[in-house]
C-alpha cells in the first residue's frame, strides 16, 4: 500500500480511535441509507425516527433489542476469540445450531428428574460442549491435516443444518406433532425471563462471557499464547506453544461461545427444540466482531447496535410497507460495509482535522 500523502497528520488520539471513528462510520452509513430510503419515496427522518423508537422507544422494544443483542454477543465473541488466534471461524451458524441441540438433548433427557438449579447449569454446559465439539472437528482437520478452517467451518454449517433437519423430522419430533419440533421443556429447563418478553437470563450469561473472554485473552498465560499464535505463529513455536493444541483450544472456546445462542433461544424463548432458531446470528457475528475490533467491550457495543437494528428494522418494516424486510437487511449491510470494510475511510479526514486544530 502506498504511504499516505499527508502522513504529517499524526495518529489519532485514543478516544477518537475507539469512539469517534466508529461513530463517524455509522453516521456515514446512515447518510447513505437515508439517500436510498429517500429514493424509494420515504422521508428518511421519519424512517430514522421509527427505527430508533422501534428499537429503544419502550421497555418492550428495549427488551427485544437486548434479546437480539444477547445472540449477537455470543457469536461476536466466538468470532473474536478465534480471530485472536489467527483463525477465521465462519462456522458460528452451525456451532450455534449444535449448541442448541446439546442443551435441548440434556433437558429432554433430564428435565423430569432434575430441579432447575441443577438442570440449567447442566444444559448450559451441554450447549458449550456441543458447540465446542462441532468446532473441534474443523480445528482438528486444520491442525493435523492442513484443511483450511474457513472452508471446513462453512461446510460444517451445511452439515449441521442437514443433521438438525434429520433429527427433528425423524427422531426428536414430538409425537403427534405436525411441525418438526420437540416436546416442550419442563419448567426446570426454562431460563427465567421477563414476563411477555424474550429477554431472559442469557443476557447475564453473555455479559459473563464478555468478562471471561477479556480475562482469558489478556490475563492468562493461555490467552497470551493464543494471541501470540494469532499474531505470529513462528514466535509462538519459538516460545514453546504447541500450535495444534492451541488451535484446538481456540476453536473449542469459540464454538462453545457460539453454542450459547442455543441457550438464549431454546431455554429462554422457545422452550423446545425448533428448527432455524440460529438463522443469521452466526454470520452476523463476523460483522459484530469486525465492528467491535475483536475486543469484548467493542463486541458488546456492536451487538447492542445490531440488536437495535434488528428490532428497529422489524418495526420499520411493519410501519412502512415500502420498506420491506429486505430493505432492513440492506441497511444492516451498509452499516457492516462502512464499519467493517471501509472502517478506515474517514481516518485521513479526521487526522487532518486534528492536525489543523493542533496547529
Amino acid at each position: 500500500m502506498r504511504a499516505p500523502r499527508r502522513s504529517s497528520a499524526g495518529p489519532l488520539p485514543a478516544w477518537a480511535e475507539v469512539a469517534l471513528l466508529p461513530l463517524v462510520n455509522i453516521a456515514l452509513a446512515f447518510i447513505v441509507v437515508g439517500v436510498i430510503v429517500a429514493i424509494i419515496g420515504v422521508d428518511p427522518f421519519h424512517a430514522l425516527r421509527l427505527l430508533v423508537v422501534g428499537a429503544l422507544g419502550s421497555w418492550e422494544s428495549i427488551g427485544y433489542t437486548l434479546y437480539y443483542a444477547t445472540n449477537f454477543t455470543f457469536t461476536g465473541l466466538a468470532v473474536a476469540v478465534a480471530f485472536h488466534a489467527g483463525l477465521f471461524n465462519i462456522g458460528g451458524e452451525g456451532q450455534a445450531y449444535l449448541g442448541g441441540l446439546g442443551c435441548g438433548l440434556a433437558i429432554l433427557a433430564l428435565d423430569r428428574w432434575l430441579p432447575a438449579w441443577l438442570m440449567v447449569p447442566i444444559a448450559i454446559a451441554a450447549a458449550a460442549l456441543f458447540g465446542a465439539a462441532w468446532a473441534a472437528v474443523p480445528a482438528w482437520l486444520q491442525a493435523w491435516r492442513g484443511s483450511h478452517i474457513v472452508i471446513t467451518t462453512i461446510m460444517f454449517n451445511f452439515v449441521a443444518s442437514a443433521l438438525m433437519v434429520y433429527l427433528m423430522v425423524n427422531v426428536l419430533i414430538a409425537p403427534g406433532s405436525m411441525t418438526p419440533q420437540s416436546r416442550g421443556f419442563a419448567p426446570s429447563g426454562e431460563l427465567p425471563a421477563i414476563a411477555g418478553l424474550p429477554l431472559n437470563l442469557s443476557l447475564a450469561l453473555a455479559l459473563a462471557c464478555c468478562v471471561a473472554v477479556w480475562v482469558f485473552l489478556w490475563h492468562t498465560p493461555w490467552g497470551y499464547a493464543l494471541r501470540t499464535m494469532g499474531h505470529n505463529p513462528e514466535a509462538a513455536v519459538y516460545a514453546g506453544t504447541n500450535l495444534r493444541r492451541m488451535t484446538m483450544l481456540a476453536m473449542c472456546f469459540s464454538g462453545a461461545l457460539a453454542g450459547f445462542v442455543g441457550v438464549n433461544e431454546l431455554m429462554g424463548v422457545h422452550h423446545r427444540i425448533v428448527l432455524d432458531f440460529q438463522a443469521g446470528y452466526g454470520f452476523a457475528g463476523i460483522a459484530v466482531a469486525l465492528m467491535g475490533r475483536n475486543h469484548p467491550l467493542g463486541v458488546l457495543l456492536a451487538a447492542l447496535l445490531f440488536g437495535a437494528l434488528q428490532q428497529g428494522g422489524a418495526e420499520l418494516a411493519f410501519e412502512i410497507p415500502t420498506i420491506t424486510r429486505e430493505m432492513v437487511v440492506v441497511i444492516q449491510g451498509l452499516i457492516i460495509l462502512f464499519s467493517g470494510a471501509l472502517a478506515h475511510l474517514p481516518r485521513p479526514w479526521l487526522q487532518l482535522l486534528f492536525a489543523r486544530r493542533a496547529s
Binding site: R5, S8, P221, Y224, H231, A239, G240
Partner: protein, 512 residues
C-alpha cells in the same frame, strides 16, 4: 539562479523537513550530490537516512524543502515521478518474482503493450545493450530462483537501469552478500560510475563506505552532522560522528576459561519433507565459558542448526545432548523443555520469531517464559510483575524508550534486539544460542550487545553465535566453525583466521 552553480548537481536537497506526528524524522537536511559519483549516507537506525531517501523516491512527501534534479526543481509525489526523473531504487529485500525468468522480471510493470512478445523482444535487446555498456551480464532466460543472491541483486540493478535510471539508490546492498560478492558489487558500481551513473549508497557498514564511495554524509537524529571526502576520513571517525561519542570497534576479552561440555551433538542430521539434507552429520561440542562462532553464507544450514538445537525442529538422525539430557529422533525436544533445561535462544529473526510486533514491550519481555511463576500465579498473568520485569530489563540493557507499555513494533531494531537479548540473558542460561546478534542494529548498540555477550560468557555461559557478519564472528568467537551445505567444513581459531580464507571456506572452495 543556476548561473551561480556552473555544473548542476545530480541531486540537490534544500532544507528537507519531515515529521511523523511527534517524531521529527528529518530536520532541515540540505545536501548536494555531484553527477557520476558514489555518495554514501551513513547513520544509525532511526537517524533519518531511510526517510530521506523515501522522500527523494516519492514514497513520502516532505513537510518543507525542495528537491532539485539536474538543476531543475522537481515534485516527487510518487515513485512514478521519481522514476520519471531518472531515479531508481534497489531495495534491501529483493522485489523479484522467483518463478519468472530474468527477462520477465525485467518487463514487469513495463510490459509495453497488451501482448508480451513485442515487449520481451525489445527488453532482450535493451538487456544486451545494458550488459555491453555496464558489464552487467545475466542470462535473460534463467529463472530467478536458480540465480545466486549476488546475481539476483544484479537483476534488481538491471531492472532499475532498464527503466532509464541515471541515479541509483542502494539500500544496504551488501546485507545478503558474501565478502566476494560484495567486492563484485562494488566493481559493478565503479563501472556504472565510470559510465556517468550517480549512485547513493545507504549502509551502516563503514568498511564499505570507505571502500566504495567518493563522498560521505553522516546523519544523526535527522540532521546531516558531517560531510567528508571519503579519502580524508576513516571508519573510526565516521563511527564517532554517527554515534556522537567515541566508539570502540574492537572488543576486549579475557582469555577463555573452558568448563564442562554443556551441549554436544553427534551425527546430527536434518532432512526435510522433500528429502533435502539441510543438516549433514553435524558434530559440535560447546563448553561452559566459551563462545563458538558459526560462520557461513545465509542458507547453509545455520538456521536449521539453531532450530534443532533449540528444540523447534526434531533431528532426523543423530543425537543432541543439552545439560545431560539427550534428544534424538525418537525423543524429540520442544522449546519449552529446552528452556527448563537452561537453554536460552536469541533467534535470528527477531521480528518473525523473537517478538510479536503487535504486543506491548512488557508482553514481549516474557515470551516463552509466560507459564508459571513469577509471571503466572493462580492461572492468571500477574500484570504488575510483568511490567516490573520489563522495566528492569529495559534499565539493565538500556532499552529506549523505557516504556513497557509501548508496542514492540515502535522500538528501533537495536532496541528490540536489546529487549530480546535481555529477556534471554536475564534468566542466566547455562547455554545460550544467538542468531545474528546485531542484524539491523546500529553501531552504538552493537558495541553494547557484544559486551553483554562476552559478560555472559565470562560468567560461565556456553554460547553459540551464528552470524553472517564475519567481523562479528572474528571479534566475538573463541573458536570458529564454518558451515557449508549443512556440514561443518572446518574449525579455525580467530587469531589464525582472516576474512579471505574464511570467505573461501564458506563457499566450499577450501577446507581447513
Amino acid at each position: 539562479m543556476q548561473a551561480l552553480t556552473p555544473a548542476p548537481a545530480a541531486i540537490e536537497l534544500r532544507g528537507i523537513d519531515k515529521s511523523f506526528g511527534v517524531v521529527h524524522a528529518v530536520r532541515g537536511v540540505s545536501l548536494r550530490i555531484e553527477p557520476g559519483t558514489i555518495t554514501g549516507i551513513v547513520g544509525e537506525n532511526g537517524a533519518g537516512k531511510s526517510t530521506l531517501m523515501s522522500i527523494l523516491y516519492g514514497l513520502y512527501r516532505a513537510d518543507a524543502g525542495e528537491i532539485w534534479i539536474g538543476g531543475q526543481p522537481a515534485e516527487m509525489a510518487s515513485p512514478r515521478d521519481a522514476i520519471g526523473h531518472g531515479i531508481g531504487m534497489v531495495h534491501q529485500h529483493f522485489m523479484l518474482i522467483d518463478t519468472f525468468t530474468v527477462l520477465e522480471n525485467l518487463v514487469l510493470g513495463a510490459e509495453g503493450g497488451a501482448l508480451l512478445a513485442g515487449g520481451l523482444a525489445a527488453a532482450r535487446a535493451e538487456l544486451a545493450r545494458l550488459a555491453r555498456d555496464y558489464g552487467l551480464s545475466v542470462d535473460p532466460d534463467a529463472r530467478v530462483a536458480d540465480l545466486s543472491v549476488g546475481e539476483q541483486q544484479r537483476v534488481e540493478i538491471l531492472k532499475v537501469l532498464f527503466r532509464g535510471a541515471r541515479i541509483l539508490i542502494l539500500d544496504e546492498p551488501s546485507a545478503v552478500l558474501t565478502p566476494q560478492e560484495t567486492d563484485r558489487l562494488f566493481d559493478i558500481l565503479r563501472t556504472l560510475k565510470a559510465r556517468g551513473v550517480t549512485i547513493i549508497l545507504i549502509t551502516h557498514k563503514l568498511r564499505e563506505i570507505v571502500a566504495a564511495t567518493d563522498r560521505v554524509y553522516v546523519m544523526r537524529q535527522g540532521k546531516i552532522v558531517a560531510e567528508r571526502r571519503t579519502r580524508d576520513t576513516g571508519s573510526e571517525e565516521l563511527a564517532e560522528l554517527m554515534v556522537g561519542r567515541k566508539v570502540r570497534l574492537d572488543l576486549e576479552k579475557v582469555p577463555v576459561r573452558q568448563g564442562e561440555i554443556l551441549l554436544s551433538t553427534e551425527h546430527l542430521s536434518l532432512v526435510d519433507d522433500r528429502g533435502v539434507r539441510l543438516l549433514d552429520d553435524v558434530g559440535i561440542e560447546l563448553r561452559a565459558g566459551e563462545i563458538v562462532g558459526i560462520a557461513g553464507i545465509t542458507g547453509n544450514g545455520q538456521s536449521e542448526l539453531l532450530q534443532v538445537l533449540s528444540g523447534i525442529r526434531a533431528p532426523s538422525a543423530g543425537r543432541l545432548t543439552v545439560c545431560g539430557h539427550t534428544i534424538d529422533p525418537g525423543h524429540p525436544g520442544n522449546p519449552a523443555h529446552m528452556r527448563e533445561l537452561g537453554l536460552a535462544h536469541v533467534p535470528e529473526d527477531r521480528l518473525r520469531q523473537g517478538l510479536v510486533a503487535a504486543f506491548l514491550a512488557s508482553e514481549t519481555s516474557i515470551l516463552g517464559y509466560q507459564d508459571g511463576p513469577p509471571f503466572t500465579r493462580n492461572y492468571l498473568l500477574d500484570g504488575p510483575a510483568v511490567g516490573a520485569h520489563c522495566a528492569e530489563l529495559m534499565e539493565r540493557f538500556d532499552v529506549r524508550p523505557r516504556s513497557p507499555g509501548l508496542r514492540s513494533s515502535h522500538f528501533s531494531g537495536g532496541n528490540q534486539q536489546k529487549l530480546v537479548l535481555a529477556r534471554e540473558i536475564a534468566r542466566l542460561p547455562r547455554v545460550l544460542l544467538v542468531g545474528q546478534p546485531t542484524r539491523g542494529v546500529d553501531i552504538g548498540a552493537i558495541e553494547f550487545i557484544h559486551r553483554e555477550l562476552v559478560k555472559a560468557r565470562d560468567s560461565g555461559c556456553a554460547m553459540l553465535v551464528v552470524s553472517v557478519e564475519l567481523d562479528e564472528i572474528l571479534s566475538l568467537a573463541d573458536r570458529i566453525l564454518v558451515m557449508f551445505a549443512g556440514r561443518i567444513v572446518g574449525e579455525v581459531e580467530p587469531g589464525r583466521a582472516d576474512e579471505r580464507t574464511l570467505g573461501l571456506m564458506m563457499t566450499g572452495a577450501a577446507a581447513a
